[in-house]
């Protein structure tokens, strides 16, 4: 008898709490400074306008595809909005795990009336993808290395030049970007890179180039590692996301400078999972419309040095919220920084990822 | 017992403190002649086990010197002392068979295999466990484990064997049987045994001499019978056997005798043991079986007492009485099947000889 009462009371409580917290919105992101910038620029002002909404952050973006697949299999979607990189968005969209959107209907137009589809332009790489920022994977180097005799690296191939720039490097523990850089520095023209990489010989060439620095490389798997390694003088040059390097240089005032040459652009943005109930979908859509308008995207750049995905936001990028420095020159899209950039081919990697990754792991383990 | 050799064991001014503030052993001097069975008897915390552990080498003496066959051993590690030891819970090695346990002291002495086997066999036969060599200790009963422990302590022919409450874990009947067995082994082998116990019956049954410990001091060192008959102080009288206490004051001294006045004015004659003179407070000690009902007029002490309680115990009757205001006064009456009935509430005359009544130091 008592058990029954307890169960009844428990279920009643559960029902009550779901009812009371009906306005919860679970937003998935990457944690750290990036998530903080989203909170400051998007959700804080939104919650001020809609006090009944409670934002719950989940720092699972790195495993978003796997988790959404699992949720889909279990038939219970608990996330409302997910921040993912473009390649993951394409994958999720392909598999029907992300919802297609109509940019002109679901997203706000620019202040001058330009429709969203034009304002975002070709950054709308998938019909499910709502772009937020342009970021790049690029290099930072220490400016106080005595062995370099006053020279500073200004070319991507300086990473492979152990004679002029001795010292340890840090690279990401995956083939993407590293293989491309290796081929570029092995004399392959930019637009030939993926054609060459498709062949066995091309892959062997890339590995051979990487072999020349392999014993000087520290491999990272979390974006925060390279800034730490640079700060600790463990490496003299290393790749990571440009926003991480910005905070290392400008916020922590470390003697580190940017090497923008051959930076690899990538996009990050929102997707809405398929299968949300009507009321939650309406709430999320309303938030997304607000969070991706011209002003909000420009606001995010006050907190982190990633370029807003809308053309109309660029002129609005101002000064850093606390440091007060001009943010525009720190954007990867700034003309001075974007003199030589590399476009990462999502579709190509979708095909070759499994194969090259196996080879890359075997190469690493050797 | 004592022969031409010096003492097998000698404690010389030995003191022991664990914390640097209190002494658990206070200035111990003790000689144990070869072949003696000496028991250290006392309540827990009296220092007896500490004395044994210092002898075995597991506790260093804080001060003083211990001699083994006239050789100082303070700096000799335990394994070089060549002393056999039986522990409270036997400490048989659980991962070895009985035979392996017995062979252990022989192996560490690098004795030949054949000789080992021979000795182990003889030791097992000595304790009547000839067929148990391959068993594990856990497969033996408590009494059997006890015998193995004794055999192991003796198998390497030590001249001195220490036993630390070895019978404590056995039930009463087995304990009594083992007491005789150990006594017989001692008699047959002629080794010196130092035995620690808090059980006075055990001590009286087995020992040549008993050292009664209390408060870090040997209260009395003597043979079992004189310990019972002639206790030197109230502690020993209390600790050994049953005892009636009567508190009073010495009013007259006459050679080895004295006259003591109790609280209610009763005057009793007593053997002057541990009082110095007139006016001293004293506690009279009197064994319950030495008190007689219907005493003759010639008895040294004659008083009247009221019977408070009668307990029938088969071979004797235990009578609790109120004598001179003390209602814990106990008399043991042998059961001779006499007609005369004692009744609760009766006031009867009782008496005892002055030699049975010892005037000892006052308790509290």
């Amino acid at each position: 008898m008592k058990l029954k009462t307890a169960i009844l009371a428990g279920s009643a409580l559960a029902l009550f709490s779901t009812a009371a917290l009906a306005k919860d919105m679970t937003v998935v992101s990457w944690g750290g400074a990036y998530q903080a910038s989203q909170k400051a620029a998007y959700t804080d002002p939104y919650v001020k306008m809609h006090p009944d909404i409670n934002v719950i952050w989940d720092e699972s973006s790195a495993e978003a595809v796997a988790k959404l697949r699992a949720m889909n299999e279990a038939g219970n979607i608990t996330w409302d909005l997910v921040d993912v990189v473009a390649s993951d968005a394409i994958r999720l969209c392909d598999e029907g795990l992300a919802m297609p959107i109509d940019p002109d209907k679901d997203l706000a137009a620019a202040p001058d009336g330009t429709p969203a589809s034009e304002d975002f332009g070709d950054l709308l790489v998938s019909e499910c993808f709502i772009p937020q920022i342009v970021y790049s994977t690029t290099f930072g180097y220490r400016t106080d290395v005595a062995e370099w005799n006053g020279k500073t690296p200004d070319d991507i191939c300086d990473v492979f030049d152990l004679k002029t720039f001795p010292g340890k490097r840090s690279l990401e523990k995956r083939p993407i970007n590293n293989m491309e850089w290796a081929l570029l520095c092995d004399g392959v023209p930019k637009d030939e890179v993926y054609n060459v990489l498709e062949t066995e010989e091309g892959q062997a060439r890339a590995f051979a180039k990487l072999d020349t620095i392999k014993d000087q490389v520290v491999w990272w798997s979390a974006g925060a590692e390279t800034p730490q390694l640079l700060a600790d003088k463990e490496v003299v040059i290393g790749s990571t996301y440009n926003g991480r390097l910005f905070s290392l240089i400008e916020e922590q005032k470390q003697p580190v400078a940017m090497l923008w040459d051959a930076q690899v652009f990538d996009l990050d943005g929102w997707i809405i999972p398929t299968g949300l109930p009507e009321d939650r979908l309406a709430m999320v859509k309303d938030f997304v419309k607000f969070a991706t308008d011209t002003q909000r995207l420009a606001d995010q750049a006050k907190y982190i040095s990633y370029g807003p995905a809308r053309k109309s936001s660029a002129p609005l990028v101002g000064k850093h919220a606390t440091l007060g420095i001009d943010m525009a020159p720190h954007m990867p899209t700034d003309p001075a920084n974007a003199k030589n950039t590399f476009l990462y081919n999502y579709e190509w990697w979708a095909d070759y990822r499994d194969d090259i990754d196996a080879k890359f792991q075997a190469w690493l383990a050797k | 017992m004592a022969d031409n050799r010096g003492a097998a064991v000698r404690y010389e001014n030995v003191q022991k403190s664990y914390d640097g503030e209190t002494l658990v052993v206070k200035n111990l001097n003790l000689d144990i002649p070869p072949g003696e069975f000496l028991t250290m008897l006392g309540p827990s915390g009296s220092g007896k086990t500490t004395c044994l552990m210092m002898l075995a080498g597991f506790e260093p003496a804080t001060h003083g010197e211990i001699f083994l066959n006239d050789r100082p051993i303070n700096n000799v590690p335990p394994h070089k002392r060549g002393i056999g030891m039986v522990f409270q819970n036997y400490a048989l090695f659980p991962h070895m068979s009985v035979a392996e346990n017995l062979a252990f002291p022989l192996q560490v002495r690098k004795m030949g295999k054949a000789e080992q086997q021979e000795k182990v066999k003889r030791a097992l036969e000595m304790v009547e466990l000839g067929d148990f060599g391959n068993r594990r200790p856990a497969q033996l009963s408590g009494g059997q484990q006890q015998r193995v422990a004794v055999a192991r302590a003796l198998v390497f022919d030590p001249e001195l064997v220490l036993m630390d409450e070895p019978l404590g874990a056995l039930d009463k009947q087995l304990r009594e049987q083992m007491q005789y067995e150990i006594k017989h082994i001692h008699e047959n082998l002629g080794v010196t045994v130092v035995y620690v116990t808090h059980d006075q019956t055990e001590a009286l049954t087995m020992s040549d001499r008993v050292a009664v410990f209390n408060d870090g001091i040997i209260q009395q060192l003597s043979t079992p019978d004189s310990l019972y008959e002639d206790p030197q102080n109230s502690f020993v009288a209390q600790f050994i056997g049953e005892n009636n206490k009567l508190d009073g004051k010495v009013v007259e001294v006459n050679g080895s005798q004295c006259l003591v006045e109790l609280g209610d004015g009763t005057r009793l004659k007593a053997d002057k043991v541990n009082v110095s003179g007139v006016g001293d407070k004293t506690t009279l000690s009197l064994r319950p079986e030495r008190v007689e009902f219907d005493p003759s007029d010639q008895m040294d002490n004659l008083v009247k007492g009221r019977i408070e309680e009668l307990i029938y115990l088969g071979d004797h009757i235990r009578v609790r009485m109120n004598v001179a205001g003390n209602d814990e006064f106990v008399v043991k009456v042998r059961n001779r099947g006499e007609k005369r009935k004692l009744e609760t509430g009766d006031i009867v005359p009782i008496g005892w000889s002055l030699n049975d009544c010892k005037a000892l130091d006052a308790v509290a």
């Binding site: 798997s221 990822r353 | 394994h79």
Partner: protein, 419 residues
Amino acid sequence: MSEASDTVLTTQDGRPLKASLRKALRREKLRAFLLIAPLLLFVIVTFVLPIADMLLRSVENSIVEETLPKTVQALASWDPTSGKLPDEAVFAALAADLKVAVKEKTHTRLGSRLNYEQTGMSSLFRKTGRHVKKMKEGPYKEQFLEVDKDWGDLDVWQTLKRFSPPYTAGYYLAAVDAQQTPDGIQMKPEDQRVYLLLFGRTLFLSIVITVSCLVLGYPIAFILAALPLRTSNLLMILVLLPFWTSLLVRTSAWKVLLQQQGVINDFLVWIGVVSNTDRLVMINNQTGTIIAMTHILLPFMILPLYSVMKTISPSYVRAAKSLGATDWTAFWRVYFPQSVPGIGAGAVLVFILAIGYYITPELVGGTSGIFISNRIAYHISSSLNWGLGAALGTMLLAAVLILFIVYDKIVGIDNVKLG
């Protein structure tokens, strides 16, 4: 008390005694069952089902048949060794299947699945999916070849045919660096073999970690067991400290200590043991993994050792010494054998925890200090090749079970004690 009437014993109210007893016992049993029911349910939901799911996933391959049912049927009559492309009927079936699949958005998932077996399948299916809606009524073969010339590649069809059955050993083959080719099972090319190496390394490093935990933990447990309870409890808190610090704090601490510009290297350079140019590499390699994991897993060695040693009475060693054994002999012949059950429990615990670890190796292991679990985690959360992840996981599970059996045969499983 009731009298025994005839042969059937009854209780006072006339019920048969046996029935009454059964009833009473049933109530007891039901109560006992209800008490463990939550745990049982918990174990089934959180342990048995996931493992069953993993076993199933490692061989399950119904995605091909479910996505392309007609094609699979049509392919049944095609001989992959004929050297000829399948006939028009197969292409027609493929077109019909893909039209459905595109609507249900399952074709890209199939592409990802087949891409594990053959590079290029992913884009082939995505690209074809975009065009299949616009395809005209037959003949289809030319239209497919127009969309992507890969449909004329014999390898594509052979792969499709080979992975048509609802169950496959392909994941297990991949997990041992082998693959199914038209000529039977073969090892993968040298430059793609990695799993056997990682399995071997995982076992080797786990053994090294277990041994170093034992070497470091045994004396600590020995001292703790010999100390008075108050002191040992206090020191035990220090032993358990690694449990209470967050992983990130610990990792940062190791980095500060172990890296080339770290505290230990600075100190060694300062006292002149190593020169400034040859600083030791103690992190981002196997050394880092061994140090970090030994640190994390040490308590799992110390606790069972301690609780077993606590039960070893000091009188055993005293007895041994009184019987003439030196300190070492007393320890080695008397104390140590009695602590073996603790060593067994600690070693099994540490070893099994070690071979499943992946976060710490990922953070401090560099490339030479990572475990098979890192690849499992990669396939589960990143490449989404769950089948391969499950196969690797199952093999790891099997390896643990085999080791358990070997341990049981050599040492005996009942010779493991937690106190």
